[in-house]
């Protein structure tokens, strides 16, 4: 899994020049066929250069409003946004669970984590009252939402619906 991510980071600027949007189209088979031994140091350097802004992992922390605009609103891939808080017990349960289910979707959906105390304006803009609040965002629009904890099956269904529609 990690190896794939590194390859993507390395290849993304090569294959997809359009910035700042991230694109996760399917990788050509010859790329995937390359083994782990060939992981060049250059790829890691490139990854570091791009990691915080342009190229993302499947899950990332939103730094601020512009970052949100960049990686969530302008994302071609649907994004689930997990609004959470340090002081919220249920958030600590839902967060990892959602991350796990998102990882299972193999890049078809991304997950953005927003700490509502660090990004209060953003939370207010999206009318977050209680936490955890999870929004499903596709092409910049909120297409689905839930508040509180869900189990893995419910999360799976939520994600599949987002990817599907």
């Amino acid at each position: 899994m990690a190896q794939r991510v590194v390859l993507r980071r390395f290849l993304a600027p090569v294959l997809f020049r359009k910035l700042p949007r991230c694109r996760w189209g399917p990788l050509p088979p010859e790329v995937l066929a390359q083994g782990s031994s060939g992981r060049p140091a250059a790829a890691l350097c490139l990854a570091r250069t791009f990691s915080t802004t342009k190229i993302s992992k499947v899950t990332f922390n939103v730094q601020d409003g512009p970052d949100f605009q960049d990686r969530v609103v302008n994302s071609d891939t649907p994004v689930v946004v997990d609004f959470h808080a340090q002081w919220c017990g249920p958030c600590k349960i839902l967060g990892p669970r959602l991350e796990k289910m998102v990882a299972k979707q193999e890049g078809k959906v991304l997950m953005a984590k927003v700490d509502i105390d660090d990004n209060t304006d953003l939370a207010i803009e999206y009318e977050v009252s209680a936490v955890p609040t999870v929004l499903a965002i596709k092409n910049g629009d909120v297409v689905d939402k839930f508040v509180g904890i869900k189990d893995e099956d419910q999360l799976e269904a939520f994600l599949k619906k987002l990817i599907g529609c």
């Binding site: 808080a85 340090q86 002081w87 919220c88 017990g89 509502i116 105390d117 209060t120 207010i124 009252s129």
Partner: protein, 459 residues
């Protein structure tokens, strides 16, 4: 629009939206008091048959983290509520620059100016310091205590306010070595008979009292979390001094109004120069017609959260809702959450004597032994109830006092009864709920004036 800004304490502590009560007052206080009560309950539980091997100990960090998480959720809740009611909120420090205009400065120093038709001042108070060497550098106050990232250890509490006694109470309750340094009397303004009983109970249960002393110097012996401090104290009655080492010194000697540095003089708002408090009329209006004030900054009004809330609500209704109702500051109930809780409504015995004269009042009193304390082997002739009646007004209950468990819960109902004009007869006509602590008020017979003993004997 709401401007809320917390100037960090000398040690750098700050907090979110919600004021003193939510962040550094009632809420964390009551939760820590509860932590201490649970410790006591654990002790009692063995008498009720609970058997467990482990030594029971208390983890400060676990408690404060849980309490701070709850407070943060309340801070957030207020943000949401303001937004829902379309109230603009700015985390900025407001000060008057000229009539109808204020300057708001945020954390980064950016200034914005606002004008408005009406203003309400609800800036509250902050803890007072002693003005002696080492106080601001080494001492903490209630502003810092509730979010202290490390256990305070051996603590000296300076003061005899309810803040001092409540804090000393729960710190001792969670197992810390606590001393209270008192300049003169306990709980000034409260019924003194009860204040002394509160002190006696605390002393019996391990809190040390240094009466008639004041600190004159605080020195740092060793830095740390907590560190070691040396306190030099002077007797108020002679030239004796004492020195002692503590991990933490908590100052709780009073609170000062936050009215000095907000440009009130620029718009002519009169304040009490000595105390900083703002005198208002019965509609919470200051001497400047478009400026109002509510809460702890008010002169001669109870400094309690529900009072401020009520005054604020009614003020808003009068200003914008066409209503006329004014806030009633008489017979406001309150509770002191010391280890032995004290609930009261109305006049203290001293105040009643001053206003009505001894011959016109009748005081009924009794000790009581809560049923739950019997099996637990806890003290008898300690919990206490007292009512003060006005003989000239149908034996109207003008003072209600209860010292015992769940005092706040017991007092709330009686406060409503007093609002309805409770008399001794009505109390006697009320049938008690058994077995409770509150029922004693329905069967009180012995008066102070009779001189009869109220001590309960034997089994």
């Amino acid at each position: 629009m709401v401007l809320d800004f917390v100037k960090p304490s000398p040690l750098g502590t700050s907090w979110g939206l919600g004021g003193t009560c939510v962040n550094v007052g009632c809420i964390p206080k009551k939760l820590m008091h509860q932590a201490a009560l649970l410790g006591q309950a654990l002790k009692d539980s063995r008498k009720f048959g609970w058997e467990y091997e482990e030594q029971v100990k208390h983890n400060w960090e676990t408690m404060t983290e849980a309490i701070q998480n709850h407070i943060c959720s309340l801070n957030w809740g207020y943000r949401v509520t303001l937004r829902e009611k379309s109230v603009t909120y700015a985390n900025s420090y407001g000060e008057f620059v000229e009539h109808h205009k204020i300057k708001a400065t945020n954390r980064k120093g950016q200034e914005t100016f606002y004008t408005a038709g009406k203003f309400v001042i609800a800036t509250g108070e902050r803890p007072r310091y002693l003005g002696i060497p080492g106080d601001k550098e080494y001492c903490i106050t209630s502003d810092d205590l509730f979010s202290l990232p490390y256990c305070p250890g051996k603590t000296l509490v300076v003061g005899a306010s309810y803040v001092a006694l409540e804090c000393a109470g729960f710190l001792a309750g969670i197992g810390l070595n606590v001393t209270v340094m008192v300049r003169s009397i306990l709980l000034r303004g409260f019924d003194q008979e009860i204040a002394e009983k509160i002190g006696a109970y605390m002393e019996l249960n391990g809190v040390k009292f240094l009466r008639k002393y004041i600190p004159v110097k605080i020195q740092l012996l060793e830095e740390g979390t907590p560190g070691r401090l040396k306190v030099v104290a002077q007797s108020t009655e002679g030239s004796e001094t004492v020195e002692e080492e503590y991990n933490t010194v908590l100052l709780a000697i009073g609170r000062d109004s936050c009215t000095r540095k907000m440009g009130l003089e620029k718009v002519g708002v009169k304040i009490n120069e000595k105390t900083g408090k703002i005198p208002v009329n019965d509609e919470e209006q200051t001497n400047v017609p478009y400026i109002y004030a509510i809460g702890d900054v008010l002169e001669d009004k109870p400094e309690l959260t529900p009072v401020a809330i009520r005054a604020g609500k009614l003020l808003a209704r009068r200003l914008f809702g066409g209503r006329l109702e004014k806030c009633d500051y008489i017979n406001v109930p309150t509770t002191v959450f010391t280890p032995l809780e004290y609930g009261c409504c109305g006049l203290s015995e001293e105040k009643a004597m001053e206003l009505y004269k001894k011959d016109n009042i009748e005081v009924y009193h009794t000790f009581f032994w809560p049923l739950e304390w019997t099996v637990a082997g806890r003290e008898d002739n300690t919990c206490f109830g007292k009512i003060i009646c006005n003989k000239r007004d149908d034996n109207r209950v003008i003072g209600f006092h209860v010292l015992g468990p769940s005092a706040g819960e017991v007092t709330q109902g009686f406060a409503a009864a007093m609002k309805c004009g409770l008399t001794k007869q009505l109390l006697d006509d009320t049938i008690g709920i058994h077995p409770t602590c509150g029922e004693i008020f329905t069967t009180m017979e012995i008066t102070k004036s009779s001189g009869l003993t109220i001590s309960q004997k034997g089994c």
